[in-house]
């Protein structure tokens, strides 16, 4: 499978995506801005401007090319609320305002297992994955 940002992965000393990541057929949820076509919605950290610090080691750098997803809408909302309580109400300006849902299949990339507590998933998408066609906004954060 060919992944997005493969050329960047080749510059890293460690394997990217990690060997433990696997293909899945799952329904996933992501924090997005209200217009699904917003350029910020599906750009990994290294391609965003302005960035929130980038002095990363190779393992973290690999992860920075993945996108953060959640396994349920409930977890997506709950984790956002927890982060908002710590950072402040302005968090909407950098994280997003809505939840988008998508059904992804084995051909769409690889991910780690959902975190047992938070439901967080890191996913490296395959080349050709169409974000705007696959993700649909379903609720506000």
């Amino acid at each position: 499978m060919e992944f997005q940002y493969t050329d960047e992965f080749k510059k890293l000393a460690s394997q990217c995506p990690p060997a433990m990541y696997s293909t899945k057929n799952i329904v996933i949820f992501r924090w997005v801005f209200e217009d699904i076509k917003d350029a910020r919605n599906f750009l990994p950290l290294p391609y965003r401007n302005p960035k929130r610090f980038l002095n990363l080691d190779d393992v973290t750098k690999c992860q920075s090319f993945s996108l953060s997803l959640y396994d349920t809408e409930h977890n997506a909302k709950q984790q956002f609320a927890k982060l908002r309580n710590k950072i402040g109400i302005n968090i909407y300006k950098t994280i997003g305002t809505n939840i988008a849902k998508a059904e992804i299949t084995e051909k769409d990339g690889v991910s780690d297992e959902p975190n047992a507590t938070t439901g967080h998933i890191s996913h490296h998408f395959a080349v050709g994955f169409d974000y705007e066609d696959t993700f649909t906004i379903i609720s506000n954060l």
């Binding site: 302005p50 929130r52 953060s68 309580n85 109400i89």
Partner: protein
């Protein structure tokens, strides 16, 4: 971004050295820094605002004692910020390129920049580095504690010197003619 009331300054007055991320979501949201010239001086950088060009960071100093109280859930992240009379508000482009630095009185910080009152530490909601810092903050490494520790060492050394002097005196006396 909000227009702030504060004092513009040229720089932070310390050399920031990033130690680790405490909160992270597709980039840093809360990070621990120290002064590269004085690693006992702890600072937290909390993301607070942004526009198309800059991220705005709220930077505040922390004593080891307060960090320990935060990790012990005795005070919240909000309390940790409010323990300072003022904070730095810094606009930065990518990485650590600083555009502007402002000193802002604690009462003048926009409410949208502050954590909620229930922002207590929960280990499973923080990055693994938080546990490293938690362990360090238990160790006595702030300036005040280090001074106390040095005083204790001096007291012990003084007692040892006194004992040694007594032994020497006793031996000298034994050689003196009665």
């Amino acid at each position: 971004m909000e227009i702030l009331k504060g004092l513009k300054v040229k720089n932070l007055g310390f050399i920031p050295q990033k130690m680790g991320d405490l909160l992270y979501h597709e980039g840093t949201l809360l990070a621990h820094f120290v002064d590269a010239n004085n690693k006992q001086e702890h600072y937290l950088y909390k993301w607070s605002d942004c526009n198309d060009t800059y991220n705005r960071w709220l930077i505040f100093k922390n004593s080891t004692k307060n960090l320990q109280r935060f990790f012990d859930k005795k005070i919240s992240l909000l309390d940790l910020i409010k323990a300072n009379p003022f904070v730095f508000i810094v606009d930065m482009a990518d990485d650590l390129h600083v555009k502007s630095v402002m000193i802002v009185n604690i009462d003048k910080i926009p409410i949208t920049y502050l954590p909620f009152s229930d922002s207590f530490f929960e280990a499973d909601e923080y990055e693994p580095y938080a546990l490293t810092l938690q362990k360090q903050s238990v160790a006595p490494n702030d300036t005040y504690t280090l001074i106390l520790s040095e005083i204790e060492k001096l007291k012990i050394q003084q007692k040892e010197n006194h004992t040694l002097l007594q032994i020497v005196n006793t031996r000298v006396e034994s050689f003196l003619p009665h």
